[in-house]
Amino acid sequence: MARYIVTRIVYMVITLFIIASITFFLMKLMPGTPLSAADRLPEAQQQIVLEQYGLDKPVPLQYVDYMLGLVQGDLGVSFQFDNRDVSSILENRIGPSLQLGIQSLIIGSFLGAILGLIAAIFHNGILDFSSTLLAVIGTSIPSFIFAGLLQYYLGVQWQVLPVATWGTFAHTIMPTIALLIFPMAICARFMRTEMLEVLNKDYIMTARAKGVKWSSVILKHGLRNALIPLITVLGPLAVSLLTGTLVIEQIFAVPGIGEQFVTAVTTNDYPMIMGTTLFFSFLFVLIILIIDILYGIIDPRIRLDGGK
């Protein structure tokens, strides 16, 4: 297991290196310069500023400089925030984004799994149809619509929750709900399909022939087997949440990474773009690793040591 994780971490580093390289050159292809907002500066001064940030060098050289800094853990300084370290800006902004992401992923997948389970147990009944309907609504309506509805009703009309901004736990409720609907709907659909399939398996018949109660058949024999495919979708779901936060953070004025990212892109804040991209990528490969480890725990047929 330990060997497996070490190998995976090496691959993670390679992946991140490739992502950093591609992003760097793509970013340089973007139109405009960080100075585009300050076009009125005399040429000579522009030159001084570019030199100061190393932007006057040829792009490959800039790449080497950036990568050398990166391996030393230096993400550079932000252009737009008075030369503050990118890493310190990210640090300040990780909290809200992570909290929203984790809250909505955990609650969403948990609720979704329960909904799907209920739908499977009462297959073709009224509960099944209502949970399917809910799932369809959840997958087809984008999160920002829910965000707007929530703000209008909970925030403005009934005034039970703060409309936007960040501060107390109450501030996190609405963005979390808006974010969790999609993963919840996806999980519900998956859980229902998987559970129905599992309940048709031979080993369910064996368990029933043993005299196991129907409820125990579902919980002890069905659930674990139905969860295996569900874990597969958690990875892509976590990623969709990362991108989902970009929009939701804007709507609720949450001072998170997503909001920061959007500003960085529009102002050509190169180190900030790189830093945020790398952070998102790191989160993504980490989630994939966690999911693979979870697989090994839930499904005994998957051996993480790669066999002996």
Binding site: T206, A209, H221
Partner: protein, 350 residues
């Protein structure tokens, strides 16, 4: 073997609701099983043999499959009348089942030991430690080497034959009175088949378990059964002691089954096959369902279903050929020859 009847099935009919209408999978069958006796039910795919066993266990796929009529009498209870919940008391305890495909009949995410212990803890009220000891004993009983270490392994770490032993151990956990084996050896290779059959025979001798053995392999039937029921299109067409069925078969379908059994001596000849296909049980025929495939069919076979004619005290067959007014028809020469061959082998084997 005593004459005490342990299970009696009377006029059992099982149907399935489908989009096209009612499929009558089992149509009015009756049979009984004595204590310590092995009843083999043979027939081709779709003859209703598996459905019969599922009905006995109360494991018909609800709500599509249901018992339409009849009784399944065990002790004072009629299983045909019990709810799914009431049946859980008997399932695994009085009636246990061995399934066809050991590769899929064990839960892949649960330790083998836990799967064996489950029944022990439920029906025999054992605590974890007692159940563990008992489970090891059961695994040893079905001759799994190194049973103690195997308890903590998962099904994918077992071979097919070993898995089937585990399935048998699970079935035996609560000393069932009736063991229903639904083609337990079909998915196994021949050497493993023999071992599994041996284990089942030994267990039957030791515990006086009654066994209902579903198979389409007549070789296995000759090996394990005391009595045989032949099913065709949801009905029992012939039932009798194993010798009676093999040496004095009366129903043309049984002739066909015996004739289509491949033997080692038969090198050059083409293998006999019963022509045609079984009827669609969505619309069962009015007369004898086998008539269109039966070259000895009489006119009445198309009009009216034959009743069970008694051949001997234990031997019954549902064919109009046994009616006193019917012409005297003997089994085809090839089948007679086959019977003589078997007779020779049987005696040589005894």
């Amino acid at each position: 073997m005593s004459n005490e009847t342990i299970l009696e099935v009377k006029n059992l009919s099982v149907s399935f609701k489908t989009a096209n209408g009612e499929v009558q999978a089992v149509r009015d069958i009756s049979f009984s099983v004595g204590k310590g006796e092995t009843l083999a039910i043979v027939g081709e795919s779709g003859s209703g043999k598996s459905v019969t066993t599922k009905a006995l266990m109360g494991l018909l796929p609800a709500p599509k499959g249901y018992i339409k009529n009849g009784n399944i009498l065990y002790g004072d209870e009629d299983f045909a009348k019990l709810s799914d919940k009431q049946m859980t008391k008997y399932r695994g305890k009085d009636f246990a089942m061995i399934f066809q495909d050991p590769m899929t009949s064990l839960n892949p995410t649960m330790k083998v030991g836990t799967q064996v212990m489950e029944g022990l803890r439920m029906h025999r009220g054992m605590n974890k430690e007692e159940a563990k000891t008992e489970a090891v004993r059961l695994l040893e009983l079905v001759r799994i080497p190194d049973a103690k270490a195997r308890m903590d392994q998962y099904p994918h770490q077992f071979s097919g034959g070993m898995r089937q032993r585990v399935v048998i151990a699970i079935a035996l956990a609560c000393d069932p009175k009736v063991l229903i084996a639904d083609e337990p050896t079909t998915a196994l290779d021949v050497t493993i088949q023999a071992q599994i059959l041996d284990i089942m025979k030994d267990i039957q001798e030791e515990f006086e378990t009654s066994i209902i053995f579903i198979t389409h392999d007549l070789g296995v039937v000759a090996n394990v059964a005391d009595r045989v029921a032949v099913m065709y299109a949801g009905k029992i067409v012939e039932i009798g002691a194993v010798d009676e069925l093999f040496y004095n078969p009366k129903h043309p379908y049984t002739w066909g089954l015996l004739g289509s059994m491949p033997t080692v001596d038969q090198r050059e000849e083409e293998l006999f096959a019963i022509p045609g296909t079984p009827p669609d049980l969505l619309h069962p025929p009015k007369g004898d369902a086998f008539a269109p495939r039966n070259r000895y069919a009489l006119k009445i076979d198309y009009e009216e279903q034959p009743p069970m004619f008694q051949v001997s005290e234990t031997h019954y067959a549902a064919t109009w050929l046994l009616h006193e007014n019917s012409p005297d028809v003997q089994p085809p020469a090839s089948v007679q020859q086959r019977i003589e061959e078997m007779d020779g082998k049987w005696e040589a084997g005894q």
